[in-house]
């Protein structure tokens, strides 16, 4: 397996930190301003596809943490692009113009956590939730009936 720096050469300068869970799982952390450019560069430089979008609520640090898990065929590695956004203003740009298949993933995150993806016109509530459930269930402070 090539070294981590060689694998990340095409996207140098666009991320702030890299850590690894195991040999073929890399976590790439970046800020909100450079994040869309980083995803566009990954699509342009490698053969890849978006496997999932995972969003987690951390109320003690007052952030939402969103992971974009992208599988890269050239190096047989999973790049997990990680972005943190403030909990009282959850907005970030959409990526459906880069990976059109990410539309249902963004719809699910909006429906269950309330994070708004700017530029996505298809977001609506009750895509998955039944009609009688109000609020955003996957947040840690949601009180169910």
């Amino acid at each position: 397996m090539t070294s981590i720096d060689d694998r990340l050469k095409p996207i140098e300068g666009l991320f702030s930190k890299v850590s690894k869970l195991r040999d073929n799982r890399l976590i790439i952390e970046t800020d909100l301003e450079k994040f869309k450019e980083l995803v566009k560069k990954i699509k342009g430089s490698y053969t890849s596809y978006l496997t999932s979008i995972v969003a987690t609520d951390f109320p003690d640090k007052n952030v939402f943490e969103i992971n974009y898990n992208i599988w890269v065929f050239d190096h047989q590695t999973m790049f997990s692009v990680r972005v943190r956004i403030p909990r009282d203003n959850p907005k970030l740009p959409t990526i459906i113009d880069i990976y059109p298949g990410g539309l249902p993933y963004e719809q699910e995150v909006y429906d269950l956590l309330g994070i708004v993806f700017e530029g996505n016109p298809h977001l609506r509530e009750h895509f998955f939730k039944p009609e009688d459930i109000k609020g955003y269930p996957l947040r840690k402070d949601w009180k169910g009936e």
Partner: protein, 390 residues
Amino acid sequence: MNKSTYVEIPVGPQHPALHEPLLLRVKVDGEAVVDVQVITGYNHRGIEKLGERNTWIQNAYLYGRVCGICNTVHAQAYVQCVEEIGGIQAPPRANYLRTLVMELERIHSHMLITAVMAELTGFDTLFMLLMRDRERIMWSKEIVTGNRVLADYIIPGGVKWDVNKDKLSKILKVLDFIEERMKYYKKVIMEDSIINKRWRGIGIIRKDEALEYCLVGPTVRGSGVKTDIRKDDPYAAYGELDFELITYDEGDVWSRMMVRVDEIFESINMIRQIIKKLPDGPIAGKALPRVIKPGEAISRVEAPRGELVYHIISKGGQRPYRVKVRTPSFSNILNGVIAYRNSLLADVPVILGSFDPCIACMERLIVYDVRKNVEKVVPIRKLIRKRVMR
């Protein structure tokens, strides 16, 4: 009598003869399909939120019940993540036994979808014969794990029960029988005229769009993309087995079904290799401690329908902090609307069936006629019996 003696049977959006509910809004112009919108959410069970309330070992039984047909692969994906965070490993014999049960499940799942597709095209005889022969695979699963459908066999650390020479020889006899029958059915699928008219040239997905729209599994292998997690990212005992990656190039419904039929033969060969090479030793190693340190893990496995991803975050303690499940049918059904272009109304059930919808299926369609500006609800059974005018 008290209230608990009354039994209630609803006959609502969940039809007793078919699978789970889904709604497709199809816009037509005469007979040709213009647009399809998928509406889901009838079956949302809140399993991700529920997983945060259970302990690590209780979740191994909960996540095995996300899907009935592919329950061992869900348990395997969850257990792989937990073993990585907890720092324990399963012994080699346990890995081989897990692979044995997962491959048996792949065979019965592919036989099931072939039978259902035959029924959706109106070929009921093939449906009945395939389901009769599939019972033998369910019986083999029963003698290994103790139950026909829900195995409850894989736990963190290893597997629960062992096999002996008697059981393995019975499984080998069943495999010989199934191989003979599947060769006959493959000949029928390749040469029969009804199937060739209804399946070839329908629902085409091109190779460049297949990855852009994040489709997975036999759906993209039928369009020529060479990807299989058992070869790219091996887990359990797949790194030591010898098998081929099956792809077909046409991209239509027929090639997707042929990928599944050929994978049945590869699975039969894999099980024979497993039985020959099964190592000795214990079936479970060190047990998982009840309190686990903080960490994170992502695991991917190849379910019969495609790629299944589990992402688990632990903050230390007895319970997980976040469990995320992305099933293959989620991508295939919701992103697969590109396959309905240029098709006729009677082809819509056949195209939906070729994606192998697991978490959802059809109850009825809403047909919206663009020319007459009229909307009406049509049951799927009525569409299957309609004749296709070409």
